[in-house]
């Protein structure tokens, strides 16, 4: 049915006219098919350089649907590391179907961390997908002081705990110079997050690395949702990036 009615978009009479050079008006050359073409408004704003830091996005809890946004802003500072790769199986009529499940953590070492998980038939695909997933899951981390508020923040601002599955991970502020007192997986995560000193305590089946990593991730994400006394002052609400740029543009254009 579809074939017979296949219409003529492209079979119009003036086909030849459309082809030709496309001198882009002031946007410069495109890098061919590999360059990122944003699909969302936020992506466009980021690509145009109107949003310069992730904090502007985090402030309004805008969903990050394109991982290139994070890539564009954080750039080479973002390091990724594989937490775990394990095969998982599903029983089918034709035997077992094995796929690989990958956990990857990305972080810039200065307050941003993300964990991605992906399962795919091959390891490379899984890794690639998990990296993308991790970049979309990047969250900010609040750091604070253990005692003396001198120098830069170096530890978590308060005791926070996160849980995933049976694993409970607890992060406790530590004095300067303690270093990250944790086992391997949390240590990696906390280094990537940019925390210098912290005590940890975990319970549950911590051998499930995926759950342990997620538990630490949730604990870290709670640092910004914890209302500490120094945040008691009321904040002035600003307009979202979309709104802000709409207003900006509409001011420069006279419209009826």
């Amino acid at each position: 049915m579809a074939e017979e009615n296949r219409g003529g978009f492209g079979r119009g009479r003036d086909r030849g006219r459309g082809r030709g050079d496309r001198g882009r008006k002031g946007k410069g050359d495109k890098g061919g098919r590999d360059e990122w073409v944003p699909c969302t408004k936020l992506g466009r704003l980021v690509k145009d350089g109107k949003i310069k830091s992730l904090e502007e996005i985090f402030l309004f809890s805008l969903p990050i649907k394109e991982f290139q946004i994070v890539d564009h802003i954080l750039g080479p500072a973002l390091k990724d590391e594989v937490m775990q790769i394990r095969p998982v199986q599903k029983v089918t009529a034709a035997g077992q179907r094995t796929r690989f499940k990958t956990y990857i953590a990305v972080g810039d070492g200065d307050g941003h961390i993300g964990i991605g998980c992906k399962t795919a038939n091959e390891v490379a695909n899984a890794i690639r997908g998990a990296v993308i997933n991790a970049k979309m899951n990047v969250i900010p981390i609040r750091r604070g002081y253990w005692g003396d508020k001198s120098g830069m923040p170096h530890t978590v601002p308060c005791k926070v705990t996160g849980k995933c599955g049976s694993v409970r991970a607890r992060l406790i502020p530590a004095p300067r110079g303690s270093g990250i007192v944790a086992s391997l997986i949390p240590k990696k995560l906390l280094t990537m997050a940019g925390i210098e000193d912290v005590y940890t305590s975990s319970t549950g089946h911590t051998r499930t690395r995926g759950n342990l990593a997620m538990a630490v991730y949730y604990a870290l994400s709670k640092t910004y949702s914890y209302l500490s006394p120094d945040l008691w002052a009321t904040t002035v609400l600003t307009s979202t990036p979309q709104q802000e740029f709409t207003d900006h543009l509409s001011k420069t254009n006279k419209r009826a």
Partner: protein, 490 residues
């Protein structure tokens, strides 16, 4: 433990098709894509016609007597009442119909959002019989009703109406004069309206196909264009205040030098030559006049309900990209293996057993969007996807959008037929009652290239990821009329 290690180390990095939910799976479908072509020279009246595929600009209408006119109200946003911008105009004939064009309009007002009424799609079809030889006859009949000579004489007279406030600045005087001229023309036209029916197409064809355009060319009086712009002004006063504002904008725009104006903030007066753009501010059905002169004028056009236009060239969709990230993934994998061999093995080998559903933290919540963006990334320049009666590429689950309307049944990804869209969502055609099926969809690059490329355009009015257009499957429905079609915006 060792078993696990062996499995991992023998995993090869081969290309595989059957991957997870989010990946760009090659299902063999290749739709036709519309990619941007050359920019349209707006001063060239012959640059576009009803048979061109283009994005932006003003729509080109069929000019036969058989085609019912499109009045202003129809092209106004259903939410805010402002005039809508033409997004794309697609010439898409099907076998049984000779000429068939789709026009997709959208409201550029950010506050309208994507609410119903802020998008509109018109479709018109002309049968074979109507096309052959009809163009001549239709306009021959229409033409005598327009007394061209009389109109011309009228225009060339430059009567400056004496205004009560003679202390107006020159700019305002000119404005006012033009205002009055327009009013006069408008009333002229009102009379003619009764003679011809409210059909702007005849004026269009008069101007373009039958050499009438040259008449207006010669006229140096800017008001010549006003008369030619066509009659039906039902909401006259609103229109004229629109025109004044547009005129102001044109003045400001034309004040800048030939380079494109970015900030239209200047209030100094300028010459009155920007009025060639006023007609663009009028009914969008007006075809572009040859008087379009400079780039500043074209920039000012954007305040007049049109984006800068370019052609759309058709192209077949390419195959999924071979991923270029293999090397990086491989490197990560190897470093992981190296680490594993050094560290104490954590045996999760026993937990190999089935986990056929994902954990809660593994679903990102936007799988559909990821699939969409990966599919679109095969050809990042695409603005339009054409797949008559095929399957639309959704950017978000439909059941969330139409929670009240959509059926509870699970929408299968691989379903064909109505493209996986529940019929409860897409209403049948109003004219003939037959089912509507998917035809074209617009992709985000249209906004990138058309709206955002032009810095003077009011770029932030629209914010959608994709616009799906569903058209009546009964071809030949509504011959000679402009019919509304259904739109899903995500």
């Amino acid at each position: 433990m060792d078993g696990q290690r062996d499995v991992l180390s023998t995993a090869t990095v081969a290309h595989d098709v059957d991957s997870d939910v989010e990946d760009d799976v090659d299902d063999g479908r290749r739709v036709t894509l519309g990619v941007p072509g050359a920019w349209i020279d707006e001063s060239d009246a012959a640059a576009t016609d009803v048979y061109t595929n283009k994005a932006g600009g003003q729509p080109d209408w069929y000019g036969t007597e058989l085609v019912e006119g499109v009045d202003r109200k129809r092209l106004c946003c259903g939410v805010c009442g402002r005039k809508m911008f033409l997004l794309v105009q697609v010439y898409a004939p099907v076998q049984t119909v000779a000429a068939r064009t789709l026009y997709v309009f959208a409201c550029n007002n950010g506050e309208c959002g994507n609410r119903p009424g802020s998008f509109k799609v018109l479709r018109t079809e002309i049968a074979h019989s109507a096309l052959s030889g009809s163009d001549g006859t239709a306009d021959e009949q229409a033409r005598p009703a327009v007394d061209v000579q009389a109109v011309l004489a009228e225009l060339h007279s430059t009567s400056v109406s004496s205004s009560a406030a003679s202390k107006l600045t020159p700019q305002q005087l000119v404005e006012q004069r033009e205002h009055h001229e327009r009013q006069k023309q408008a009333s002229e036209q009102q009379k003619k309206k009764k003679v011809i029916e409210d059909n702007i197409e005849t004026y269009n064809t008069l101007n373009n196909d039958w050499g009438m355009g040259s008449v207006w060319d010669d006229s140096s009086d800017s008001d010549a264009d006003d008369a030619s712009a066509g009659a039906a002004s039902k909401d006259e006063s609103k229109e004229q205040s629109d025109r004044i504002a547009a005129l102001l904008a044109q003045r400001n725009a034309s004040d800048q030098s030939s380079s494109r104006p970015k900030q239209n903030n200047s209030t100094s007066s300028g010459a009155g030559r920007g009025t060639s753009n006023i007609k663009k501010k009028k009914k969008k059905t007006k075809k572009q006049q040859p008087k379009q002169q400079s780039s500043s004028a074209s920039a000012a056009t954007n305040t007049a309900n049109a984006f800068t236009s370019f052609y759309l060239v058709d192209q077949a969709e390419p195959a999924p990209k071979q991923n270029a990230e293999q090397a990086k993934a491989q490197k990560l994998y190897e470093s992981y293996l190296a680490r594993e061999s050094n560290e104490e093995k954590q045996s999760s080998g026993s937990s190999n057993l089935s986990s056929s559903w994902n954990e809660s933290y593994e679903r990102t919540g936007h799988e559909e969007f990821t699939r969409f963006s990966q599919r679109v990334a095969r050809q990042p320049e695409q603005c339009l996807r054409y797949d008559l009666h095929g399957q639309p590429l959704l950017a978000a689950p439909l059941r969330l959008q139409f929670a009240s309307k959509a059926k509870a049944s699970h929408k299968s990804r691989n379903s064909s037929g109505d493209g996986g869209v529940p019929t409860a969502v897409v209403p049948p055609c109003e004219l003939c009652g037959s089912r509507r099926a998917f035809e074209i969809q617009l992709t985000p690059n249209l906004l990138n290239d058309m709206v955002y490329a032009d810095e003077s355009a009011d770029a932030d009015g629209m914010d959608w990821v994709t616009v799906l257009v569903f058209t009546c499957t009964h071809h030949g429905c509504g011959k000679g009329k402009y019919c509304d079609e259904f739109v899903v915006v995500q």
